[in-house]
Amino acid sequence: MPRVLLIEDDPSVREGVELGLRRRGHEVRTASTGEAGLAALREFRPDLLLLDLMLPGMNGVQVCRKVRDDSQLPIIMLTARGDDFDVVIGLEAGADDYIVKPARTEVIEARIRAVLRRIEEPGSGRPVVEFHGELAVDRAGLTVAKNGERLALAPSEMKLLLHLTSAPEQVFSRQQLLEHVWEHSYHGDARLVDACVRRLRNKIEDTPGSPRYIQTLRGFGYRFGPL
Amino acid sequence: MRRRSAAVLAGLATLLLGGCGVPETDVIEAGGPATVQVFPEASSGLVLFLRSPDGELMPVIRFLEGELEEPDSPGAGTPTTVAALFAGPLPNERRAGLTDGLPELPGRTAVRAVPYREGGVEVTLPIAVGDLDDLAVRQLVCTIAFTEDDEGLTPVRLRGTDTALEPAVCDEDIDLGRLPRPTTAPAASSPSGSQGGQGGRRGSADQAAQDDQAPSGP
């Protein structure tokens, strides 16, 4: 069972979520501030971080950036709907997904599982490492290298890249990507996709302004290549 | 607003258009009458006053028959003139529709004229003067007055077989139709419209009326 670190300042939420997840078998550690959370991170070594955006002192976005500086730990933000701006900033800062409060435990757990789920292995007959231009994608080892240099990709970025490269030149709509990569509903928040694509481009493209690998088809969605 | 401007426009139109062209007028007096030359002149002829079909006093001037033979004669005397008046219009006068309107005179000698007070004359007629109409009286008065003097200003008192009338002056030359009056009541003898130059005559008429002392109303 995954180990979850929950950083949440409100005691009732903290306690409620902790209780719910623990009953479902998760090992849960909680922290009430960003600073305490970062400290617990090193010691607890969680598989996933549940991060409230509105925190006293160091806020969720700052925590998120701090974590992303040296880790590809899956991060799910807890947010209240209406704080739309924060969601975008959180996603830009590297969060993989977000959950709108209030949420039932089953919803939270489903998201956790979705983020942690590995992209299905490609069928037999495909090489372990695929080369797309200067990119080397290792589907088994879940690593991506550009010009031999390994890229640090967050889980959602990795999954998105793997999904797109699994069918190069095929166009995926945002809704399809939401369903397959994030396991959201078809009608989910397409900003998740857009933010993730932006982050991914910053890491793999030579000039993110005119992308080569992840191309936009206006009115339809995204596709990988053609190179 | 619209009704008011319509009224203004209508008034304006009336002012502009209604006054256009040549409008009619009432009868407007304009200057004196036309003075014509008559001959023989009144002073040298026999002046008689006849009447028109409209009841107006119509002067006629006849040549004096004896004038040519007797240039120094003092003119026809009142009895002669009165007799001529009673004799009626001549043919040419009758052609113009003039009549005398007087009864027949019983005899020529019966007319007598004697001086009366204040330069007046009393004429005695052999008829009943009470039966005469106003116009007839006036014909007589004027005819006698113009016989007595050229300007016909002499007051005349008519005496008939029945009575004597109040003295009268042949005066009212403004409204011939309403003359004469047998009595000269003060109100009747002061016609307001008399022309300038006739004041003297009016004065004398007033005087005559006062002399009578007893102006009895008609």
Partner: protein, 491 residues
């Protein structure tokens, strides 16, 4: 000046400018007309007076040339009259004479029809010349009566009984007078034309402030309540401008207060929802625990626990909906549009909620639409959910495109049920917040905000939603019309 007008506004047949100019011209016309009329009358009277005086004097002169016997001899009279007639001044005239029963004239008939009885009476009873203007059959005549007198003695004149009349046509005078009218008119009309210039200038000076007022009023109407007019001078229009400014100031203050009050109310609703959400988050996270443990509790406690769990869920939905409505009210709702396949979008909505087998879908393929998928999902889900809850099966969702009134392509979504339909008195309120069709019904399964949120979402797309009953009066039909390509149609 053309005013934009709302329907039903009554308009005078003439604009203010026209009326001002007309009034000005009227004044100009009245003064010009009066002046012209007075001048005309004076001139006419002068013309006529000259003609009359000349005629009367000349007639008297002619008559005075006469020598006559008394009585007048009728035979020579006509010759005399013709002689006088020839010497008519200023125009030829007909001369008539009356003496006793004699009637003679220079014309064919011995008497004239133009001479009035009044003139005859005056001439015969009054030793004065007199005249009368008579209009007969449109022709003006001057008729003169002239009694002839003779001199008796030195000072006295006596009437001869002869009265002469002259009848003179005044055609020339009439022509002259008409020329005067023409002259007056020709003088007045250019005057009026010239008066048009100051009239327009005056109208302009009056209308400029009026136009400013109108612009300001329009500006106010379009929401710029800080609009003010520069009030110059001290005339009525300046007063009006000042009054406008004061009123505008008061209006601005009132609107400001109202807006502040409304904003406070909205913020309060938003704050309340927000504050409710935090404890709800904790509660909702543990409802699962309650549900699972309830089985092991004694029945009463179990019921209580399940009740709390269920109501917590509903409360969470209600709070979410309240938050959503607050965002609409605060105009904070954002539209995140994307290109989607319309049929696919609706199909996913039904699949997601497991309604596929309860709802008949008539969804033609290939309709690409630009919309906010999440909000469109809410719209369809609310309408279908409402139909499933309150209407009767089967529920049908139809999708089609149509052309809007202004030519834009519309995406039309129809949700119909087979229930009893919506009572007519409910129809106007069906999209109201917390509106309960049945007052006796305590609470519906939804939050009571579903259709209100639907309406707001459709509006956010620039579309409309309406509720009606089906053709046979059975079954409610909700029709959503949105631009096919939201955000692109509006250039």
């Amino acid at each position: 000046m053309r005013l934009r007008r709302t329907a039903g506004e009554r308009r005078r047949p003439f604009g203010l400018r026209t009326r001002l100019v007309l009034a000005f011209l009227l004044v100009a016309a009245v003064s010009a007309g009066t002046t012209a009329a007075l001048t005309f009358r004076e001139a006419r009277n002068a013309v006529l007076g000259t003609a009359q005086d000349t005629a009367v004097a000349s007639f008297r002169e002619q008559v005075q040339q006469l020598g006559m016997e008394l009585p007048q001899d009728p035979t020579g009279l006509q010759d005399v009259l013709r002689d006088i007639a020839r010497k008519g001044k200023p125009h030829p005239w007909y001369v008539y004479a009356e003496y006793g029963s004699i009637r003679a004239s220079s014309a064919a008939a011995p008497t004239s029809t133009v001479i009035t009885p009044e003139l005859r009476r005056t001439a015969r009873s009054n030793p004065h010349g007199s005249f009368e203007r008579v209009v007969k059959d449109g022709v003006p005549y001057l008729t003169i009566g002239m009694p002839a007198v003779f001199r008796a003695g030195a000072n006295r004149v006596m009437p001869t009984g002869l009265v002469l009349f002259a009848v003179m046509r005044m055609s020339e005078e009439q022509a002259g007078v008409e020329a005067l009218v023409v002259a007056a008119r020709d003088g007045a009309l250019p005057g009026l034309a010239i008066a048009l210039v100051p009239a327009l200038v005056a109208a302009r000076s009056v209308l400029r402030p009026v136009r400013e007022l109108r612009k300001a009023a329009l500006s106010m109407g379009s929401g710029r309540l800080d609009t003010r007019i520069q009030a110059r001078g001290s005339d009525e229009l300046a007063d009006l401008a000042r009054t406008f400014n004061e009123s505008a100031g008061q209006l601005e203050r009132s609107v400001d207060e109202l807006q502040q009050a409304e904003a406070r109310a909205r913020r309060f609703a938003s704050d309340v929802s927000h504050e409710l959400r935090t404890p709800l988050s904790g509660m909702l996270a543990v409802t699962e625990v309650l549900d699972e443990e309830a089985e092991r509790l004694d029945p009463d406690t179990a019921r209580a626990v399940r009740l709390i769990s269920a109501e917590t869920g509903k409360l969470a939905v209600l709070v979410e909906d309240l938050m959503e409505i607050s965002r609409f009210d605060a105009r904070a709702a954002e539209l995140n549009t994307d290109e989607v396949d319309a049929a696919e979008t609706i199909r996913k909505t039904l699949e997601h909620r497991r309604w596929t087998d309860r709802v008949r879908a008539d969804l033609p393929e290939g309709i690409r639409a630009r919309l906010d998928p999440r909000r469109f999902d809410v719209v369809v889900a609310n309408l279908v959910g409402n139909a499933l809850r309150h209407g009767g099966a089967p529920v049908t969702v139809r999708l089609r495109t149509a052309a809007g009134g202004d030519g834009t392509a519309l995406l039309v979504t129809e949700v119909a049920d087979s229930g009893p339909g919506i009572p007519p008195e409910v129809l106007p309120h069906i999209f109201d917040r917390f509106y309960k069709a049945d007052a006796a019904r305590t609470r519906s399964a939804g939050s009571g905000l579903g259709l209100a949120i639907t309406l707001e979402n459709v509006r956010l797309h620039g579309g409309t939603v309406r509720a009606a009953n089906g053709p046979e009066g059975r079954g409610a039909v909700f029709t959503v019309e949105m631009p096919l390509r939201v955000g692109e149609a509006v250039a």
